[in-house]
């Protein structure tokens, strides 16, 4: 009398499902994200900065670590299309800067209009290792032999600031990214477990989170970073600094995720998972954790800029990252005296990069916040 489920019922007529196309979580998020122009802009900015950082050698016409004392504190070259004689040239060009002493023996920079140096794209220049793999000499732009092009001027040692800014992006971006990953990993896991189990563990966790959040962030970072011995190698310093930044920022995500889990815990699909005999581990990592991803993504994109700023601040003060490692904050160290800044305003260019990075990630984060929960209509 009992037959198996495999035989069909006479109710096989079904309604068409609603939408065509792939409907997984990330597809839905992308579709919603695409609609926000600000978010796309943020994404493009972040992408450009990242590409510049990764391929910084390609973007940099001069070796960013090689000293070049005779060209110290050269101002940024001006790009011309019309020469001193009024003639229009298709190819943009630059003039050489020459230093001239006026009647008071005060140095001025004057353009030497006798010789035009045309800007060329994809030129051969100094040798570097492409992604650390093989040697290469191709650069995005440059000028012919005898001339130079410093788009953002040079620093005290004659190093091209534009090239150094691109290079500095590596440390600034990767450290904030790395620190954020640690922060998010720790915060989200602790948040989910705390929210799921509740009870004493949750109470203890919450008190601990409040304890950590009560610390003044910047002074603590400074104190921890100042303790790093100068003898440590670059890699260790990098990792340690990332961990230090992660130490105080994980609590935000832990709280948010815990809140989301407290709400999710009571939903029917979690009850269904228990009803079918799922283990706690399965419920936590297979059911709850993916459903907190929306919060995690948003906090991730907003933690990155805060660490960029923190790292810049600490490096500016000389704590943490040291030469020969270069980050945007380290470059800012040269801009500390009024005289230097007064004569050589271009020294402050790294600020512009920091500003762009922070703005880009904030736009990205805003767009993601709106897109990250695509089920709200349902």
């Amino acid at each position: 009398m009992k037959s198996d489920v495999s035989s069909q019922t006479n109710l096989t007529k079904t309604l068409e499902p609603l939408v065509e196309g792939r409907e997984g979580y990330f597809n839905l998020v992308w579709r919603k994200f695409r609609k926000s122009r600000i978010a796309i802009l943020g994404g493009i900015i972040v992408l450009i900065l990242s590409i510049m950082a990764i391929f910084s050698d390609f973007f940099s016409p001069y070796d960013p670590v090689k000293l070049n004392m005779q060209y110290g504190y050269t101002p940024p070259h001006r790009i011309h299309f019309i020469d001193a004689g009024g003639k229009f040239h298709f190819r943009p060009f630059v003039y050489k800067w020459t230093r001239v002493l006026d009647e008071n023996m005060f140095p001025h920079w004057v353009e030497d209009t006798s010789q035009r140096y045309e800007i060329r794209l994809f030129v051969r220049g100094w040798e570097y290792r492409f992604l650390g793999l093989f040697p290469a000499t191709l650069h995005l732009y440059g000028v012919e032999e005898g001339g130079s092009i410093y788009l953002l001027g040079t620093d005290k040692f004659g190093r091209d600031i534009f090239g150094r800014c691109a290079l500095a992006g590596r440390i600034s971006l990767s450290m904030s990214f790395f620190g954020t990953i640690i922060s998010v990993a720790v915060g989200s896991v602790l948040g989910v477990i705390s929210g799921y189990y509740g009870g004493r563990f949750d109470e203890l966790m919450q008190r601990f989170v409040e304890f950590v959040q009560s610390f003044p962030q910047l002074p603590l970072w400074m104190a921890l970073a100042a303790v790093i011995p100068p003898t440590w190698d670059q890699m260790t310093v990098f990792v340690t600094m990332s961990v230090i930044f992660a130490l105080l920022s994980w609590t935000l995500l832990a709280r948010e995720v815990r809140g989301k889990v407290l709400a999710l815990r009571e939903t029917d699909f979690i009850l269904a998972a228990r009803e079918m005999g799922a283990s706690d581990a399965r419920i936590i990592f297979y059911h709850l954790y993916p459903n907190t991803l929306s919060h995690t993504i948003v906090v991730l994109t907003l933690t990155i800029p805060s660490i960029i700023l923190a790292e810049s601040f600490l490096s500016f003060l000389g704590i943490g990252i040291q030469e020969p490692l270069v980050s945007w904050g380290v470059m800012m160290r040269e801009a500390q005296t009024i005289q230097t800044l007064g004569f050589n305003l271009w020294i402050i260019s790294p600020v512009f990069f920091i500003f762009l990075a922070v703005l880009g990630f904030n736009f990205l984060g805003d767009g993601l916040r709106d897109a990250a929960d695509p089920y709200t209509i349902v």
Binding site: K2, T12, E23, D268, A272, R282
Partner: protein, 342 residues
């Protein structure tokens, strides 16, 4: 009653109280007596409808039976597939796990009972994976079978829940429930969240599957007309207590408890020309945290006497296979569907 070989599930004096925490130190100020001494049994292959208004404890009964809540007191006896009778109210979750293959639940809300991040295949196949029944390709084949059985095209198994309508989602849930070939299913208001026309579809599906697979069903609902359509016997709950239980036809034509009479009179008859006097209950449903003394229904009962406020009636077999908990069940002439019964 427990010796009867046909009985697959028996619940004795089941209680589930939820503590109410008050104050700074979370002292227990009282209890919500969601289920307060419930007794019933279900025979294998039959459908027992459990009716009552919102808050009467019927959902809690269903969840407690499946040990999603731990009972405060009482016994739950289950007869396993091999014939062995075991008491499951106090066993550990680990011991409970193999039993979960035989006793499953259908959930009320099709919108929140499916994980929005998983595909239909993942949702339906999960019980198979948890219990190690199938892996990989086998899961896919089994999910295909199950989808066909509930009337869904297996081509849609890679879709996500939000792409389906409410009725279709409920079918997905049903397929998930059937995945381990259970014997006992607790259906917790399976059609309450659906539109009326879809309700009929899903109910018919449920009935057909129940008959074909010989399933035992505890059908929980608040709508008497829905329950009547599906059930062999009906049990009526009120504020945590079971007030009447009988075979469907008997209960509807010849109710013995005043609350049942009121429920029946609230069901509109199919004939629009017939005008029946509706019994409107005065007052509000009492809070399960503070139930009345004596009979839990007496403040709203039009037949109440002094005795009803003093002494709590027990659920007794007033007539053959017809239980009621009312002091005056034998004397009252209550009105059922066909009018006042003899």
């Amino acid at each position: 009653m427990s010796a009867d070989q046909d009985i697959i599930l028996e619940v004795k004096n089941l209680k589930k109280y939820f503590p109410i925490s008050r104050g700074l130190f979370r002292r227990t100020a009282g209890h919500v007596k969601a289920v307060d001494g419930v007794n019933f049994f279900i025979r294998e292959g039959e459908v027992l409808g459990l009716v009552g208004e919102s808050g009467c404890g019927k959902t809690t009964v269903g969840r407690t039976i499946l040990r999603l809540y731990d009972p405060t007191a009482g016994e739950i006896w289950y007869r396993k597939k091999d014939g062995e009778l075991i008491e499951i109210s106090r066993i550990s979750q680990k011991e409970m796990k193999p039993l979960r293959r035989e006793m499953r639940m259908i959930f009320q809300d099709p919108y929140s009972s499916l994980n929005p991040r998983l595909t239909v295949k993942d949702i339906i196949g999960e019980p198979l994976i948890i219990h190690g029944i199938a892996r990989g390709k086998e899961v896919e084949e089994r999910v295909e079978e199950l989808m066909r059985a509930v009337g869904l095209d297996p081509a849609y198994m890679r879709r996500y829940p939000h792409e389906f309508s409410g009725g279709q989602r409920q079918r997905i849930g049903l397929a998930r429930t059937l995945s381990l070939s259970p014997r006992l299913i607790v259906a917790d208001e399976p059609v309450s969240a659906l539109d009326v026309s879809i309700q009929a579809q899903v109910l018919n599906l449920l009935q057909e599957l129940q008959e074909r697979l010989g399933l035992t069903l505890l059908f929980i609902a608040h709508d008497l007309s829905v329950v009547e359509h599906v059930s062999d016997r009906i049990a009526v709950m009120y504020v945590g207590k079971l007030v009447e239980m009988a075979e469907t036809g008997v209960l509807l034509r010849h109710p013995l408890h005043p609350y049942t009479e009121a429920l029946i009179s609230a069901v509109p008859p199919a004939d629009p020309d017939v005008r029946l006097e509706r019994i409107v209950l005065e007052g509000d449903v009492p809070s399960p945290a503070n139930p009345p003394a004596g009979c839990v229904f007496h403040p709203r009962c039009r037949y109440a006497q002094d005795l009803c406020g003093r002494e709590e009636p027990q659920l007794v077999e007033v007539e053959t296979e017809h239980y009621a908990s009312c002091h005056f069940a034998a004397e009252l002439r209550l009105r059922g569907i066909g009018g006042v019964s003899e």
